[in-house]
């Protein structure tokens, strides 16, 4: 693991190798899977995480979501940062680079 990551809008987030963001067909739900960890996600988190691909920066993710949901970008950006920071603190998100 690398040093503590502070999420800002320029960071390009990705899932670490051992973390899987997956759709469980039988249960019809998105989850984050890691060793001994299972995180169930609310619909907003799923929207955000579906845009995490190791290429988009946090800013881009917020921008796309604000268009999709027709919502103010700065509120969305704050939400995206907060959620990714939380996941990063738990080891589920890291920076690409």
């Amino acid at each position: 693991m690398t040093d503590i990551l502070k999420i800002n809008e320029n960071i390009i987030p990705k899932f670490p190798k051992h973390v899987r963001f997956r759709f469980n067909k039988a249960r019809k739900e998105w989850v984050i899977l890691a060793p001994e960890r299972l995180v169930k996600l609310d619909p907003i988190a799923v929207e955000i995480l579906q845009l995490v691909n190791g290429e988009r920066a946090v800013r881009t993710i917020a921008n796309e979501l604000s268009k999709k949901f027709n919502a103010p970008e700065d509120t969305i950006l704050a939400d995206v940062k907060e959620m990714l920071q939380d996941l990063s603190d738990k080891g589920f998100i890291e920076e690409n680079g």
Binding site: I4, H18, R20, R22, N24, A26, R27, E36, L38, D89
Partner: protein, 382 residues
Amino acid sequence: MDDVKKQTNLKKASEHGIQAPLALLAELSHRCPLQCPYCSNPVQLEKKTGELTTDEWKSVIDQAVEMGMHQIHLSGGEPTVRHDLEDIVEHCTNKGLYTNLITSGVLLNPDRLKKLEKLGLEHVQLSFQDTDNDNADRIGGFKGGHAKKLEVAKWVREVELPLTCNCVVHRQNIDNLENFIQMALDLDAERVEIAQVQYYGWALKNRAAFIPTPEQLDHATEIVEKARIDLKGKLVIDYVIPDYYAKHPKNCMGGWGRRFLNMNPKGDVLPCHAAETIPHLKFDNVREHSLKWIWENSEAFNIYRGTDWMPEPCKSCDRKEIDWGGCRCQAMALTGDAKNTDPACSISPLHSEIFSMAAEEARRAPPEFIYRRYGVRFNSPI
């Protein structure tokens, strides 16, 4: 054990509102070159000839996915003794199960790890007995084991597999706790699991050799708490304290038959890896029933599901749906009846007697280990 005979009207999983299990702990084999005296395997170890075949495991995996399980833990004994481990891993990842290997590592080599990684293995949990080389080898009963494990950890990271160090701590290594954490950092692990010995099966036979004093434990908890702050975002530290010294018992397995399935090498399906220590339970086998049928109907699951089976003090306790009365196997081991309140609970009428005995053992010099071996006989039941 009068409650055992008339089980016809037990409520089933769906009637408890219980959904499909989340993860499968697959004990591929009980064979293991190590002999840890706290091994969670049953005292009666299964022989190679009784083990499920590759195709039988594949069918189990298919069923697990259909049921909606997320993860599989390939465990043992030592799962790498099986030459078809590669086939099994490949099948798991093809089906989309998160695949975790729980191993002592001593049988692995770089090529095999590389292959497993290619086939989609997602994570390796490597067990360590101590950070002190000689003591580690003594505890595992395997000379050269510790040095080999350090090498294996490097190979795991070389193929970029994420690593968890599993460290079982007890009075004979708990003073090295800081070293365990440092070792995990040095080995570039993502996560370290620090678990106290849980006392049933082999471990209960060796309790006096393992149980730490309350002071050792407090100190350990302090170290973990500090390290968790210092290493936040760098190393995940999972810490399981022995519930002997906790106020309430652990929420064992998230409740009996609520979240997890355990399969032993011959295909018996158990609510937890220690369930075979409860002598009156009859387990259903995947050679006779589907996994789904077993989860729903198996008596071994339904008998302690929910709260109907509980006697006092659990019955009228407001924590009964939080910890589900604690661990059935521990209740069995320590009170002789699996439905009793887990005596780790401070409310249990047997708590003080049993735990002052344990604390007393902790103050005395540790006895010799009884090593995990095939065919060991014990003179005294417990």
